[in-house]
């Protein structure tokens, strides 16, 4: 019944699990950064520079989500 629990502690599975948890937490962190950029853009708008910053943060967020899916499904 609890074989799956012990299977978690096999090196490869454990590494995958840790990586997935870290990526999930990091995705939340990046989401907070994006919301803060949005908030600061409301405080002071700086033309296209603000938009570029938002796009950069979104690319990093998308990369993290991609890697999270890759880790869970492919790895």
């Amino acid at each position: 019944m609890i074989d799956w629990f012990f299977a978690l502690f096999q090196p490869l599975v454990f590494t995958k699990l840790i990586l997935a948890v870290l990526l999930f937490l990091f995705a939340i962190f990046l989401f907070v950064i994006i919301t803060q950029i949005n908030r600061m853009n409301a405080v002071v708008a700086q033309g296209t520079s603000s938009v570029i910053l938002l796009i950069l943060a979104s690319i990093l967020f998308a990369g993290t989500i991609f890697l999270l899916i890759f880790t869970v499904i492919v790895v």
Binding site: I33, V44, V75
Partner: protein, 206 residues
């Protein structure tokens, strides 16, 4: 024949010398007169931003160097760690995922440092001075004071780097609750205090 009556001329109001043209902001601007496309919260419809200031870009050099070192670290360490006991047991897809994650973390570090620089802004308008402080991702503080409350403005510029790149700390002393505003490491500090002093003079003469 000498003039008997000479009409008294009105004393001319000191005016702020208008900048030659409006400035275009780019993502690495740290000094801009009459910036285009910049607006802040609670800005009046008839209020023009005269001066836009950030820390000098040279203050970003330490974190840029750190980022480059961190980006170059894996290719340099692979010959050492690539065949170590832990990494040799991992399949290629795991190594790819770990490296990908490492690079995302490094780029996020650079993004956070850039944001800290990008949103620490000081603005001088024809009515007031605005100081926006941003740090630690979730903290921001916006302070404003009217130009009529500004009592004194001075700057300090010490050290080789600051003299070489021409940046320094401008201190604006006010009679308001917040007794001073610091514009830290801003470019052309003498030009900044000249503009603020002219604005103060004009406000007091009005």
């Amino acid at each position: 024949m000498p003039d008997i009556f000479i009409p008294a001329t009105k004393p001319e109001k000191p005016t702020v010398a208008p900048p030659p043209s409006t400035g275009r902001l780019h993502p690495f601007s740290s000094y801009c007169e009459m910036p285009e496309g910049v607006h802040f919260q609670n800005q009046d419809a008839d209020e023009t931003i005269l001066l836009f200031l950030r820390r000098h870009f040279a203050t970003n050099i330490p974190w840029i160097i750190t980022t480059f070192i961190l980006l170059l670290l894996p290719p340099l360490l692979v010959p050492l760690l690539g065949f170590s006991s832990f990494f040799s047991t991992l399949p290629g897809s795991y190594i790819f995922a770990i490296l990908f994650f490492y690079y995302i973390v490094v780029l996020t570090y650079a993004l956070i440092e850039y944001i800290n620089w990008f949103y620490n802004i000081s603005l001088v308008t024809e009515k007031r001075i605005v100081d926006i402080d941003y740090s630690n991702i979730v903290f921001h503080d916006v302070a404003m004071t009217k130009l009529t409350l500004v009592e004194d403005v001075n700057y300090t510029q010490s050290g080789f780097i600051r003299s070489f790149f021409d940046f320094g700390d401008v201190l604006v002393q006010t009679a308001a609750e917040m007794d001073h505003f610091d514009f830290l490491a801003v470019p052309k500090p003498n030009q900044v205090i000249k503009i603020i002093e002219e604005l103060i003079g004009r406000r007091r003469n009005e």
